[in-house]
């Protein structure tokens, strides 16, 4: 295993960390407007209150790691998906400030305004993540200089929209289960109800996306065809997904949540294996594709960065676990709550 593969995995792990952690934040946001009372909405926001901001750091660090390890991929994707990315930033900004601002004033219109900002911001962010991944999977028009040769509307292919909706569904399910863990009483019962619906919604979308991928994006299946042993990954994905309703049925909510985390991780592993060794697949000319070699930084930089990651990641995991430990249990509204 060379450094480039290790960095492909590390960047993948950072984005997977983001998807698992901020995924439930975005899911809570996507479900937010379905709640009725102000207290329910406060509970929803406070269930992610202490953690959402740390969760978002996984994205920022993933972006930084991508910049450092695969600058060509960073430059190509973010400049190529310019408008989509600006909308994603818009969504994240509104999500962030809505959480902070909402509780600061009691007026109904004020709270409603930030409720909408929080919820639409979360849905849009989840959708655009899915659209970006759909495009990376399907491939984009890349010229010989690794420059994106399309427009914003070229990105909104039916396949990308499908992966966008699937991502929203996945995060809704993930967020609803997280919500069940963090709440009690009436809201808890509501969330239990939504878990059931969102599981069905997600599984439907998952099946359609899988079929579409096999039919229209055959290169995503190549690695599995060439290395049959890898077939274990889609099997694990399927088992993780199937285990979510199973645990949920037996009211093992925490295990259902862990299964949901595993499902997110497995789906990303599937995605990573599917595109490997490409980072951005060119639909114009396979030779113009950005691979983990043509997009990478120098070996020296990858080595230095690996040292930084080896020192940094245990610290990051330690902070993350301690925060989740300190704020474990059901969410309660106190004077310092949002």
């Amino acid at each position: 295993m060379d450094l480039n593969i290790i960095w492909f995995i590390i960047v993948g792990v950072l984005f997977a960390g983001y998807a698992i952690l901020d995924g439930f934040d975005l899911g809570i946001g996507a479900l937010h407007l379905f709640t009725d009372t102000d207290e329910e909405r406060r509970l929803m926001i406070n269930s992610i209150g202490p953690v959402w901001d740390g969760n978002e750091v996984w994205l920022v660090t993933g972006g930084g790691a991508l910049f450092a390890a695969f600058p060509e991929a960073y430059a190509t994707v973010f400049s190529g998906f310019y408008i989509a990315f600006m909308l994603f930033l818009l969504a994240l900004i509104f999500r962030a400030v809505a959480i902070e601002f909402r509780s600061k004033q009691p007026m109904k219109w004020w709270r409603l305004m930030w409720d909408i900002g929080f919820s639409l911001g979360s849905i849009l962010a989840a959708f655009l993540i899915g659209v970006a991944m759909g495009n990376i999977a399907y491939g984009v028009p890349l010229g010989p200089d690794h420059v994106f040769a399309g427009t914003f509307f070229d990105l909104l292919t039916p396949y990308a929209i499908l992966t966008g909706i699937t991502t929203v569904a996945l995060f809704m399910m993930h967020g609803a289960i997280y919500g069940v863990l963090k709440t009690e009483g009436e809201l808890h019962d509501k969330l239990r109800h939504w878990v059931r619906r969102s599981i069905i919604f997600f599984i439907l979308m998952y099946v359609i996306t899988t079929m579409m991928t096999l039919l229209y994006v055959p290169h995503m299946a190549e690695p599995f065809k060439n290395h049959p042993v890898l077939f274990i990954v889609p099997v694990i994905t399927l088992l993780a997904i199937a285990n979510v309703p199973r645990e949920y049925y037996y009211a093992n909510d925490f295990k259902a949540f862990l299964s949901s985390c595993a499902a997110v991780l497995a789906l990303l592993a599937l995605f990573g294996l599917g595109i490997f060794p490409n980072m951005v697949y060119s639909t114009l000319e396979p030779a113009s594709s950005l691979t983990i070699y043509s997009a990478a930084s120098s070996e020296r930089t990858l080595t230095i960065m690996l040292i930084i990651a080896v020192i940094g990641m245990p610290l990051v995991l330690a902070y993350t676990f301690s925060i989740y430990w300190i704020f474990r249990g059901k969410v309660r509204l106190t004077e310092s709550s949002y």
Binding site: V51, Y74, Y82, L90, I99, K104, Q105, S297, G312
Partner: protein, 449 residues
């Protein structure tokens, strides 16, 4: 309008807006460490109320910093793809290190700071505050290192040629400790401490004028003044070192900052003025002849490299750099005098009696904010036309795939959102300040006062 101008405008606008908040977080972070440290030591509930109040303000500025900061992480890729391809190997490492070492630390412990009052012990809360303050300082370290590498690149070599050329790290520590990074970092941090200190002083002065929360305000203003006096005097030192470094490594920037054109002659230092670029002279200004030479070399007759030593295409815009530089110095000097004046009256025991001074304090909060902004304008515009000094021109750094209309769209979007956010931020800040710290035992104390 061309993509270059639009992208520069967007970057300037988004980074300028972002930079309102991180200095406040760093500066208030220092104040919080002091206040919570005092609480731990004395067990006086006054300090607890102070901590709780300033934590709320901190939470607000931090949220704005996060929301506007995430834009910055990705804007290199969206608008400056050619730059990102060229420097990713070097510059990307610093950004990634910032994420791993600073942001996780900051955001993790922030949760305890904001919501952990009842969940953890006092000591643990203090520890969390300390870690958040460290995290905020670390993020300043890495981002200033990255920017300083753009000013004085070191520890790299350029590989490949023409379009395929890129900078690669040869020596990581030489990159981190490039010639300007430590002096610029200390200058940035002292600017941030002042931003936090003057916010605290300003709010406290406001309470004193309104005769509200007197005990709270008196103690806060003192802590603010201590930080302000240390930081503003240190700023003089770091500013001096930075200026010497700039004249050595980026002489065109220094020459533009003082409107010095002569290829090689003793240079004056101006208090103010207007640079006439056609006539190559500073008009309507007051300057101290030889002062710049003296400050740099300790000898008023030593020649300083002027703008004419550089071909026209390698010179930065002169007047913008001159004006922002002089505004920064004027405000910096003013803040030193103000901090000294405050300390003098504190020593005399009459600090709270001079209403005129308190009124100046209320508005002084703008001082560090403006000085920080114009200081960065000096640094960044003064580096032009280079994006990496001497290595890559700003005009070569754009995203190949991004058209002008896309940048216009995003610029309009950012303008609209940021104006909205700023209005809401000011409104909520004002609200929190008017609401004030939690009132306990304060009522009775107001009567005594």
């Amino acid at each position: 309008m061309d993509v270059l101008f639009l992208s520069r405008l967007q970057f300037a606008f988004t980074i300028g807006f972002h930079y309102i908040y991180p200095p406040l977080s760093i500066g208030i972070g220092v104040i919080l460490v002091l206040v919570e440290g005092m609480y731990l030591k004395t067990n006086d509930e006054l300090y607890e109320r102070m901590a709780k109040f300033w934590v709320k303000i901190f939470g607000l500025t931090f949220a704005m910093g996060v929301a506007t900061g995430i834009v910055m992480e990705f804007e290199f890729g969206t608008n400056w793809a050619a730059y990102s391809r060229f420097v990713g190997d070097v510059f990307g490492s610093a950004l990634a290190a910032e994420g791993i070492f600073a942001f996780f630390l900051e955001s993790g412990f922030l949760a305890i700071l904001l919501f952990g009052w009842d969940k953890v012990s006092k000591k643990m809360h203090f520890f969390a505050t300390l870690m958040v303050a460290f995290g905020a300082h670390f993020s300043a370290v890495w981002i200033t290192v990255a920017n300083s590498w753009q000013q004085t690149p070191a520890g790299y070599h350029v590989v490949g040629n023409a379009l395929r050329a890129r900078a690669e790290i040869t020596d990581f520590w030489a990159m981190v400790f490039n010639p300007s990074s430590m002096e610029r970092l200390s200058h940035v941090l002292m600017g941030a401490w002042q931003a936090g200190a003057w916010l605290v002083i300003s709010v406290s002065a406001y309470y004193l004028l309104r005769k509200q929360h007197l005990k709270f305000a008196k103690q806060s203003i003192k802590i603010g003044l201590i930080v302000a006096i240390i930081a503003s005097i240190m700023q003089l030192v770091t500013g001096d070192i930075s200026a010497k470094g700039v004249s050595k490594h980026q002489p065109a920037k220094m020459a533009a900052a003082e409107g010095h054109f002569d290829r090689s002659a003793p240079a004056s230092m101006y208090l103010f003025g207007w640079v006439n670029e056609e006539k190559q002279e500073v008009q309507f200004g007051i300057g101290i002849p030889g002062m710049l030479s003296w400050l740099i070399y300790g000898d008023a007759s030593k020649p300083v490299t002027g703008l004419n030593a550089f071909p026209e295409k390698d010179r930065p815009p002169v007047n913008i750099v001159f004006q922002s530089y002089h505004l920064m110095i004027a405000i910096g000097t003013g803040l030193i005098l103000l901090a000294l004046l405050g300390s003098f009256f504190w020593w005399k025991g009459t600090l709270f009696e001079h209403r005129w001074l308190l009124w100046i304090f209320v508005f002084a909060v703008l001082g560090p904010q403006i000085a920080n902004q114009v200081g960065w304008i000096t640094a960044e515009v003064g580096r032009q036309p280079w994006i990496v000094y001497g290595l890559m021109r700003t005009s070569d750094a754009l995203s190949e795939a991004v058209q002008a209309n896309a940048v216009i769209a995003s610029l309009i979007m950012f303008t609209f959102i940021y104006i909205l956010l700023f209005a809401v931020f000011i409104y909520l800040l004002d609200n929190k300040i008017r609401h004030g710290p939690e009132v306990e035992a304060e009522t009775e104390e107001t009567h005594i006062a």
